[in-house]
Assembly symmetry: D2
Homo-oligomer: 341 residues x 4
């Protein structure tokens, strides 16, 4: 971190800055120029230091040099992380591509199994399905909970596909981890730190969705919580951000795909179902995500979207999903060997 | 809810819409006009119905008439809710004004007690302080936890001021509730539904902060989670939203104050410390919040902001806080009897 | 438009609404239900009617049924518009794909001609270059003006490539139209109505960029200004919107591509140079744009980006551009015949 | 500007950076530390230099030290600018408070004169009214143009109130300047540089509204265009920004008031009519704006809002405006002598 003093600052201002740093156990390295004095900060920087220094008298600018996340950074992992999922050992990252597909919510054994078979036939490698559902309204259907987990596990046994499902509370991590192959942390929980701490204590892969208003840095810091717990199996998921545009449910930020590949070694997948909110946009945005270099996709598929208990509007039919997979594979086949980096 | 069919829709489209509604246990009331047919939906509307109908063939527009929140709505409570806090019976809402002040984070008994005495002398009525701290980086100071709660409780015993402190995990609600008078749910947890469910099971007042990207409707639906649990003591807190403007930490949305007073009976307080992120903006925005009709303020005060372990940049000194209180009282005194409604 | 009265509204409220409509020359069609009365509005709806009705006593909701843009809508043009550019008759839209490439700013005849030859060799079909430059700071280089136009025209004569260049003021439309083949309206001018009116009076194709904060509807209404002037040759250009994410210069909104194809018959191109602001993101986002169904691309290319007078950071070298074209062509080749609609 | 090289950068990277600077006529001052080399940039910084340097090999961070606006900055004008309006010499800024009120659009001599008399009686000092109206739809009422200007001028002659009205095109500046006392540049035109240049050539006060997506820096740079033309009479106007919240027409950003007072010497007024879009929010947000330290207000008032040709939903009746003025004056009376700075 570098502190640039204002041209009109005085010695007392400078002394206060230096004292502020030494009070926090940091060292100050002064560089006096003709017009300005610059203070280099040496030592581990607390998160709030920049804000504190910026409002001190005589301070012009405070510039952070090193990134606040460490283990999630590209510098930490020059080689792409490859995450391995379930007994089927589905790989994602570092050139491995995976598709997670299934219903938004688990509704019945028949619905899940039918969907699982259909998406597997079309080329999906991981089955998704929600047993614990975050809903904006307390009066909406909130999921089948453990019964839903059992249905997912049964579908895995039947089809051999590993499963991913959301966990919403630190209390439920142990329960969900008994059944699932990947723990999903949803967009609303990107900064639910007790939950991140808890999934960081497991050794299951974690699918970490970007929050509605999460910057790339916030998102990588959320991943850092999991990594810092010793769990290195993190998959990031771009699922759209909240902007002024309301025609679509969210604004899919595909810049995120190549940006994350530059800033981090972690795999990143795209969720065009939530990123658009309308089924007729899912296929074109899935194609775009893959062309941008995504390491995978997560897609909502329902045997009969019109009767789905949640997110029917953005769910594909099995037929539409199969067509999506054909198009996506054709694009994958013509991408440069190592597309994004 | 009203479904407006497109002029070019056919009978089969209409039949599908009607079937979709009856499959969900709803009734359809048809009104055929010269150009268009309109379908009125009768019965309890599931949250996702609008999205589902919008993508059906032949559907032009779907309009929701009633609000998705019930107990939080002005219709439910034509009289303003008055929340009563702690043994001191501090009242807020319906014309009662309260000021919550104290340090961002509990650091030591001396720091908390000195701040408590100073803010009480200046007119604050509730002591705030964080024992469990949500931090963007896992490497930042994360709070003193139960030791911090004990320090707060001791300061309450000494000063008579009720206390408010944040709870971040459903697991901690029981512990935090043993000590605090108000449970604070932070911005990052506005849609942490297991946490909202859990604080809804207590009978302590809940201070519910607006999320970084929470619309008024999302926020009132989050309150609805608490109310639906049987806990009617909810205070809303506007603390700024995330926008493209980054000079300030957040963009304080003061429209929220009169809007919430129109849509809901719940009290709403303003947090200019987080809403601006810079101490020199706190006092003018506190004045503005009160002028807009806020039922209270929550302000970060630290005996020595330069050495604060978090949020020093936005904390006021006790002297600056006392001046803020003088200015705020002067404005309160000239507001119309019932300012906002 | 439909006005839904509140359950607690009275006859006087209803009479006021009806009078408000008849005062504006509109007809009201009443439909009284058990709980609510609904008023159908018949006639041409003024833009502000919805806002006016929403605040009248007794009114619950006001729903707009028809879109405010007409000539830009898909209903108006079920067949995709094909825009034809210059003597070379470059086509775009309805399955025709075009690439506009060249320097951000015209700096010299040599720079422009060298770039033109390079991008043409790589497959670009239209030459872009700025002679009038909108700059956030008045102290930045603001373009060579008519001298720049002459340089572009000379490059067209030499290479046969039609040219596109920005016009910023209604006063300059006549001058710029003398030289250019396509008139570009920049993002900052999306709602510069005198400029839109003026370019609507020409018969040159117009490239209309989306504004920093323009919704899809705002953007199509801006196109409507041009179309309403009798100029039907409008190409829309997605170039990123302003959001809370500041790592990238803008947030490229690729949802816009399939959305515009659904709402409108006009061609839509993508500008990944401005949509990302960093040269190393341009190629992956160009691939993504094409995969999403864009009818074309507009790319900044500079023979020596490090010395460019503007936007060097987001400009590609000719070599990088040639590689981008190879990748884009490979994706185009595998897209479904009519990708987006 | 400071360029921080990465720890892993080499001598060639450093040489390229230095060459890039010297190619632009700038000097480079090297400071080699243990871990990193820092390059200080000396000379006038072009607007795009930061972006260019950031993507060069070996560059870690680029930090801008001095602000890109000069004449608009607080450093340039330590004393607050006082703008003087019309023959009546209405003052604004530096402790002088002014209220601009009147109809959104000029509709008739009777409407304007009746409104002028009513708002003057209530304490307004400048009459507002639109003759050239920017409308999102080309089919909305676009103003009476010169006839409207004549009506405004006649109302000024009758009442003695100076007038403010919008100018949308550089071509119209001469015409509008013949009639008006203040030239208004609207939000959509904040970055219409030919227009800013042109109003900068006049010596009339300019009311410069903040754009929908304009940062504080963009806004001050827009003011810089006018100031750089030699016109020092600029009044800034906060009128709400575009965010994800759509219940209100815009999100009023009252942080802007004290921020602008800190960054600049120019007066800043608040427009709660556009900042909220709903008449029932105008008075509380006007109170809040004044409490935040605004130098003035601009308020839409219409004798009969229900029949207004535009913006009726956000217009106050003369009675409501008189009540607003009473409340605002009461707050002004209790503010600290120099509220914001």
């Amino acid at each position: 971190m570098i502190v640039v003093m204002r041209p009109d600052s005085n010695q007392q201002n400078l002394d206060s800055v230096v004292k502020h740093l030494t009070d926090r156990g940091l060292k100050a390295h002064l560089s006096k120029g003709v017009e300005r004095t610059i203070v280099g900060v040496i030592g581990p920087i607390p998160g709030e230091l920049q804000d504190e220094l910026e409002v001190m008298d005589g301070v012009g600018e405070v510039v952070r040099i090193s990134k606040p996340y460490k283990m999630a950074s590209r510098e930490f992992g020059p080689t792409d992380t490859v995450v391995t999922i379930g007994k089927a050992k589905v790989k994602i990252g570092g050139g491995h591509f995976a598709v997670f597909a299934g219903p938004c919510a688990v509704e019945s054994p028949e619905q899940v199994l039918a969907t699982a078979k259909a998406v597997k036939a079309a080329g999906a490698t991981v089955l998704r399905g929600g047993a614990f559902k975050p809903r904006t309204s307390p009066y909406s259907f909130r999921g089948m909970k453990e019964d839903g987990l059992k249905i997912l596990a049964a579908a895995r046994d039947e089809t051999g596909m590993p499963i991913v499902t959301e966990v919403m509370s630190p209390r439920d991590v142990e329960l969900v981890a008994k059944y699932t192959d990947v723990l999903q942390v949803g967009a609303r929980n990107m900064q639910n730190y007790p939950l991140l701490d808890e999934v960081g204590q497991t050794r299951l892969p974690v699918l970490l969705k970007r929050g509605f208003a999460g910057t790339y840095e916030d998102w990588l810091l959320a991943a850092e919580y999991v990594l810092a717990g010793g769990n290195l199996q993190v998959i990031l998921c771009e699922r759209g951000i909240r902007t002024f545009e309301t025609f679509t449910r969210n604004t899919m930020d595909l810049n995120a795909i190549p940006v994350i590949h530059r800033l981090s070694h972690l795999p990143v997948v795209a969720d065009p179902s939530h990123g658009t909110g309308k089924w007729y946009l899912v296929t074109p945005i899935a194609r775009a995500s893959v062309a941008a270099g995504a390491d995978g996709l997560i897609i909502e598929v329902h045997p009969n979207p019109d009767t789905a208990k949640s997110d029917g509007a953005q769910s594909l039919t099995p037929d539409n999903f199969a067509e999506l997979m054909r198009q996506v594979k054709a694009i994958r086949a013509v991408l440069p060997a190592k597309a994004p980096a």
